[in-house]
């Protein structure tokens, strides 16, 4: 023990030192997380063995034993005996090589496939531009209007020497992207208005918004789609006909809007009352307060559940198959109806699944970045 005089004099501060070597670095991490005792070592080794086996099996199936193309008979029939002899030990990617254009573009006239292909590129371009915060201003409005007009012209044709293609022949990826993009682009603003309306002081608006959310949310999307495709035309005057895709689109917007409205409302409720009061006390009008103070904060808070809902609805577009619209998944299913290709569903679903995954993963990654970026002010 030190003597008392030393303790009562000016206290010396303890020197700063490096952390002990054994607690940092890769080796220490391994020891702490994977090999901390005999049980954990055993579990690590067992799971490691299973993972290696599974990956090796997948590589065998997807690459080593896989068949990438098959000969085509002079009558245009694919000769898939080689694939069938594999008996599932390897993937028959030939079905994707042969059928990918049908899966991507459905029954769209074959020689015109460049048009839906260009449409998909335009959609992706539109997403990329919209994702850049540099464009987050009014210039986005003409960009969207312009791109969507070009997309409409490309899909329908009938002008500029493009042959007319009726909507019944559209299919595949463009249908999925059209439903998802228009659906969410209209449903999101709708949901904000409904969420604000549910908190309105005006009873009529409030009741209307509550009714909308509860009614739409209370029925399955499939029944809404059926109503849109079967019942709705019955109410229209004779001779008047609204495009089936448009009807499905409207059902989809209404459905997504109801779900998103509840997410937005959660954000509105998460804001402290003081924010509303401070904005009121300054003399901001209702729309100024909402647009400048409330929504920017409320929406930032609900980015994770918003994107969750977005991703869910992107995939829910595949439900339109039940009213006979040919989206990406339906086109994939139809591609293997042909006798030569029957039984190669796994390969087709892996291919279609990968396309969905690319879009959903991009949304997920982008939202994670956006969340970190927009919530910078919360960090100290």
């Amino acid at each position: 023990m030190s003597d008392i005089t030393a303790n009562t004099s000016v206290p010396r501060s303890a020197p700063r030192r490096e952390a002990p070597v054994a607690t940092t670095g890769a080796l220490a991490w391994l020891r702490a997380n994977l090999f901390s005792g005999w049980l954990s070592t055993a579990v690590t080794l067992a799971l490691g063995y299973l993972i290696v086996r599974a990956v090796m099996g997948l590589v065998d199936w997807a690459f080593i034993n896989a068949i990438w193309s098959v000969p085509i008979a002079p009558n245009g029939q694919a000769q898939t005996q080689a694939c069938r002899e594999l008996q599932g030990s390897g993937a028959c990617w030939a079905v994707v090589t042969e059928k990918h254009r049908f899966m991507l573009f459905g029954t769209y006239p074959y020689e015109q496939h460049w048009r839906p292909a260009l449409v998909c590129v335009l959609f992706v371009g539109l997403y990329v531009v919209s994702a850049m915060r540099r464009f987050w201003n009014w210039t986005l409005v003409p960009i969207w209007m312009g791109t969507l007009t070009v997309i409409g012209i490309l899909m329908w044709g009938g002008v500029f020497g493009l042959p007319y293609v009726p909507q019944e022949r559209w299919g595949g990826l463009p249908i999925t992207l059209i439903l998802a993009t228009f659906g969410l682009a209209f449903a999101f603003p709708l949901s904000i208005l409904v969420a604000l309306g549910r908190r309105s002081n005006l009873p009529a608006i409030k009741v209307l918004c509550v009714l909308y959310v509860e009614l739409i949310r209370g029925v399955p999307l499939i029944s809404l789609l059926f109503m849109a495709s079967v019942m709705f035309p019955l109410f229209l005057p004779e001779g008047m006909n609204i495009d089936k895709l448009l009807r499905a689109q409207i059902a989809f917007i209404l459905f997504a809007g109801a779900y998103l409205a509840e997410v937005v409302r959660a954000g509105l409720q998460g804001l402290p009352k003081g924010q509303y009061e401070a904005a009121d006390a300054m003399g901001l009008s209702y729309w100024q307060k909402t647009g400048l103070i409330i929504l920017p904060q409320a929406l930032r808070m609900v980015i994770p559940p918003l994107v969750n809902t977005f991703i869910g609805f992107f995939k829910d577009t595949s439900l339109v198959l039940i009213i006979g619209i040919f989206d990406l998944l339906t086109a994939g299913k139809t591609a293997i109806v042909e006798p030569a290709w029957q039984g190669f569903g796994v390969e087709v679903y892996v291919f279609v699944g990968l396309i969905y995954l690319v879009f959903c993963f991009a949304m997920s990654k982008y939202s994670a970045g956006l969340e970190a970026d927009l919530n910078k002010h919360r960090r100290r």
Binding site: P272, G274, Q275, E277, A278, A279, D280, A281, M282, G283, L284, S285, Q288, L292, I293, P296, Q297, R300, L374, K376, H377, R378, R379, R380
Partner: protein, 265 residues
């Protein structure tokens, strides 16, 4: 509580003008929260340039009263006239009043997603329709006056409580209000930050601003207030100069309150 203030010499000269029409008139104001009678026949006149400190136990209705003045709360009976305009359901009258009345809250209520500078320029740009550049110059002027111009580009969450409250004061001043309301501006602050906020308010008082301050800071009241209003259970119980109220309380209720708040000091 704030020894530094009590030792500064004497009372800040008042800019009170009794010849001008009163800045704020409360005439038999009554308010209920459900069945609870929170303001009972409150009468109060505040002259232009006058500084009024409102004190009283918690739940006495003092915050509710000043929140009625810019209609964050609505009163149910009586009349409130601010800057010559009577508060009513007329939204245009309300907008006119809110432009002229600045408010500082206990919990600051800065907008966390905007920088300090943007917090200050928001209302001048959108409500006063001031050009952005002019609003920024004005904001920097007031941020300099509350002694934090170097924090202009930071977000409120990066500042200390005392700094945030000074930003809140600057933000309210950027609207060039005629009247400033303070709702317990130092109650949410750590002790070492109270002084910097009170000093800012003393400085503001010296400019002749009409102020109503809900606070328990007796040193501030003595130094700045023209009148102190003591409220209890929704009523105005005593009104007088700081000297009269603090040194010569007439009612038992005020005596009890003073003994309670002074016990801790």
């Amino acid at each position: 509580m704030s020894a530094a203030l009590e030792t500064t010499e004497g009372h800040i000269a008042s800019a009170m003008r009794t010849d001008a029409p009163p800045a704020i008139v409360l005439d038999k104001v009554n308010k209920w929260f459900g069945a609870l009678h929170v303001l009972r026949d409150v009468d109060l006149q505040v002259a232009t340039g006058e500084r009024v400190v409102v004190c009283g136990p918690s739940g006495s209705g003092k915050s509710t009263m000043i929140r009625c003045i810019n209609r964050l709360e609505t009163h149910q009976e009586g009349r409130i006239i601010v800057d010559g305009i009577e508060l009513s359901d007329d939204l245009r009258a309300l907008d006119a009043i809110r432009r002229e009345v600045g408010m500082v809250f206990q919990s600051f209520n800065l907008f966390p997603h905007l920088t300090v500078l943007e917090n200050c320029t928001l209302a001048p740009i959108w409500v006063r329709k001031m050009p952005k550049k002019e609003a920024e110059e004005l904001a920097m002027e007031y941020l300099t006056r509350v002694k934090i111009p170097e924090q202009a580009k930071k977000y409120p969450g990066q500042l200390s409580g005392g700094q945030q409250q000074r930003v809140a004061i600057a933000r309210a001043l950027c609207m060039k209000p005629k009247i400033m309301l303070f709702d317990e501006p130092t109650s949410a602050l750590d002790p070492e930050m109270i002084k910097e906020v009170l000093d800012t308010m003393v400085m503001l008082a010296a400019t002749g601003m009409t102020m109503i301050v809900v606070t328990h800071e007796m040193g501030f009241a003595r130094q700045v207030a023209d009148r102190v209003v003591f409220m209890d259970q929704g009523e105005v119980v005593e009104v007088g100069t700081p000297d009269q109220v603090f040194n010569d309380p007439k009612t038992d209720r005020l005596k009890l309150f003073l003994s309670q708040i002074l016990r801790g000091h």
